[in-house]
Structures are given as structure tokens and as C-alpha cells.
Symmetry: C2
């Protein structure tokens, strides 16, 4: 069985990716970041997800992106609520270079494990317009990764898989259900209550709710207005 490093946030997309990579027969090494995000709730979801799927190893790495700030997810900036998601404006929930940092750690771990596969749940259909979720970004990251490591120089390239990149949220959810994902243990909200109840109004909640609606599936997590 081949090893794969799977970026696992505890959210809907990365959990589906974990199920997908597992269904393809990979031995899963899940990688989660405690990066100073205000929605710490997702870390406990990530642990539940890792447990649910019975993976080989789950690393939660503490990195402090709050030391840079510049995002509503890591700084004292209000998370926008109830707005329409506009593709032209990258929202304030964008975290500077987040996926670049996450993928770089994944690359390091994959190299040490001699894994040749990394999975990330980026999506460029039902998304917030973050630059580091687009196919052209991933392609460029792949080209850089192919020159970055000792493994690559020795002919063992590490492939970055983005199985969700062209799927709608509804398609992602349907796929996950088919693979046995229990979405009740996942967390998407950027601005949950202290008890981890989703606000239902931030971009991430809006995308999630819309996805479940379109898929015709009931989302059984709790929202504030329920």
C-alpha cells in the first residue's frame, strides 16, 4: 500500500478528500495545522475525522500565523456575515500564503515518509475566491515541488492531488456520502460560538448549506438560528 499525506482541516472538503484517498487504497498520514485560527473547533473535528477513518498517523502541527495577522481568521478583524460571495473580491478571511505554507509542510513530511502523494481539498467552484485554491496555482506549486526535494532530484516526484478542484459543493457531499463520510463530525464555520455551533452566515456556512440543499441531503450539524 502506498503512503499519502492528506491535509485534513476537519472541514467538509478535506474530510471528503480523506475518504477518497482512502478508497483508492492509500495508507493515510493526516496533517492538520493549529495555526491560530479563531475557529479552533475545526481541530477537534480533525481529530474526530482521523479517528473515524482509522488512519496510520495524525500530526497536528502548531504554527503561529497570528504573528503575521492580516486575515479575519487569525486577526482581530470581524468575519463578514450574510454577504454574497463575489468572485472578484478576495474576502478578508483569506489567510496570506496559507496553502503555500500548508503544502510546504506536507512536502517535507511526504519526503521523509518517502510518500509520493499529497492530497489537498482545494476547490475552485463553490469557494471564496482564494488565489491559492485555483488550478493554475496548484500547477505552479507542483512544478516548484518537482525541483524542491532530494526525492525529486533522485527521480521520485511527489504528486499533489486535488480531486475536488472542479466539483461543486453538492457533488462533493454526494461523493462523500457514497464513501461513508459522516459529515456531522466535520466543521466548516469561520465564526462559531464557544460551544462550536456554526453561525450559518459566514461564507463557509453559506457554501456548506447551499451544497447540502442542492444535494438534497440534510446537514445535521447545528446552526445558531436552528
Amino acid at each position: 500500500m502506498k503512503k499519502a499525506v492528506v491535509l485534513t482541516s476537519g472541514g467538509l472538503d478535506s474530510t471528503t478528500v480523506l475518504a477518497l484517498s482512502r478508497s483508492k487504497g492509500f495508507k493515510i498520514y493526516a496533517l492538520t495545522f493549529d495555526y491560530g485560527q479563531r475557529h479552533k473547533q475545526e481541530l477537534s473535528s480533525a481529530k474526530k475525522v482521523a479517528k473515524y477513518f482509522g488512519i496510520v498517523e495524525h500530526k497536528i502541527i502548531k504554527i503561529n500565523l497570528r504573528c503575521f495577522g492580516g486575515s479575519a481568521l487569525t486577526d482581530d478583524i470581524k468575519v463578514p456575515q450574510g454577504g454574497k460571495i463575489k468572485r472578484k473580491n478576495i474576502p478578508i478571511t483569506y489567510v496570506p500564503a496559507r496553502n503555500t505554507i500548508f503544502l510546504s509542510y506536507a512536502l517535507a513530511w511526504a519526503e521523509v515518509l518517502k510518500a509520493q502523494d499529497i492530497f489537498i481539498g482545494v476547490n475552485a467552484i463553490d469557494y471564496s475566491g482564494y488565489p491559492d485554491c485555483r488550478p493554475e496555482y496548484i500547477d505552479a506549486y507542483q512544478k516548484m515541488a518537482d525541483l524542491a526535494t532530494k526525492e525529486s532530484v533522485e527521480g521520485r516526484l511527489i504528486k499533489i492531488h486535488t480531486p475536488l478542484i472542479n466539483m461543486s459543493k453538492a457533488e462533493i457531499i454526494k461523493k462523500g456520502i457514497e464513501l461513508g463520510v459522516d459529515y456531522s463530525i466535520t466543521h466548516s464555520c469561520y465564526s462559531p460560538t464557544r460551544n462550536g455551533v456554526a453561525c450559518g452566515k459566514c461564507d463557509s456556512c453559506i457554501l456548506r448549506k447551499k451544497g447540502f440543499n442542492k444535494a438534497g441531503i440534510k446537514d445535521i450539524i447545528r446552526y445558531i438560528q436552528d
Copy 2:
């Protein structure tokens, strides 16, 4: 004055880069990593260097690359000594994806600062053969960075400068001396004594000593065999 993020290890190359970027009129934001390196001595050198040059801000970021291991610099693997540097074999002192991780943090900080310039002291002449020091790697990283950030989408690209990439160690030292660098506060050794005295035998010491010799300049740091 334009801002620049300068990767500063406390070593000879990055200190020269700091002097160079300062001489070009940049306001310097120095970035250093406490990444679990066994030669922690370089952190105290980085602090001295930052102080010496009177920069705007110096961030020392703690990241734990020991959690992955896979290198003589972060793991319980002996640092090779007294060998000849062979370009074909990447030595065990290579740290998986280190420059990729370092540059990704620099990119995040540059984006938050609205700095459009990052400086890194990679060198592909008198070096240990690390893949992430080569021009083709830096070019690919640049292309990825140009797609990674909100700043780039909005037309403000962040440029990665590698002023030393094609210089010999002797040329780097001569340039530094010309710019007023005090190399006695820098640290290069991978395997120093507890008191920070350089071993004189690891790849990094060998490259440093050869550079000073060729430049005809006396290196006034202490080596064990002195």
C-alpha cells in the same frame, strides 16, 4: 523607502544578503527560524546580525521540523565531517523542503507588510548541492508565488531576490567586507561545541574556510583545532 523581508539565519551568506539589501535602500524585516536545528548557535548570531544592522523588525519564528526529522541537522544523525563535497550526492544535512517552508513564511509576511521584495542567500556555486538552492528551483518558486497571494491577484507581485546565487564564497566575503559586514558575529558550523566553537570539518565549515582563504581574508571566528 521600500520594505523587504530578508531571510536571516545568522550565517555568512544571509548576513551578506542583509548588508546588500540594506545598501540598496530597503527597510529590512528580518525573518529567522528556530526550526529545531542542532546548531542553535546560529540563532544568537542572527540576533547579533539584526542588531548590528539596525533593522526595522526581527521575527524569530519557532517551527518544529524535528517532528518530521530526516536530516542530520534536525535528527539524531551524525553530521558528516572532513569529507569532500560532492555535487552528485545530496548530503544528509539537507533538510526536507526547508527553503520551501522558509520562503512560504517570508511570502506570508511580505504580503501582510505589503512588501514586494524578499531576499534569500541561496548559492549554487560553493554550496552543498541542496536542490532548493538552485536557480531553477527559485524560478519555479517565483512562478508559484506570482499566483499564490491576494497581492499578486491585485497586481502587486512579490519578487524573490537571490543576489548571491552565482557568486563564489570568496566573492561573497569580499562583497560583504566592502559593505561593512563583521563576519566575526556570524555562524556557519553545523556541528559546533556547546560554547558555539566551530568544528572546522563539516561541509559548512569547509566552504567557509575555503572562501576566506581564496578571498585572502582572515576569518576571525574560533575553530576547534585552533
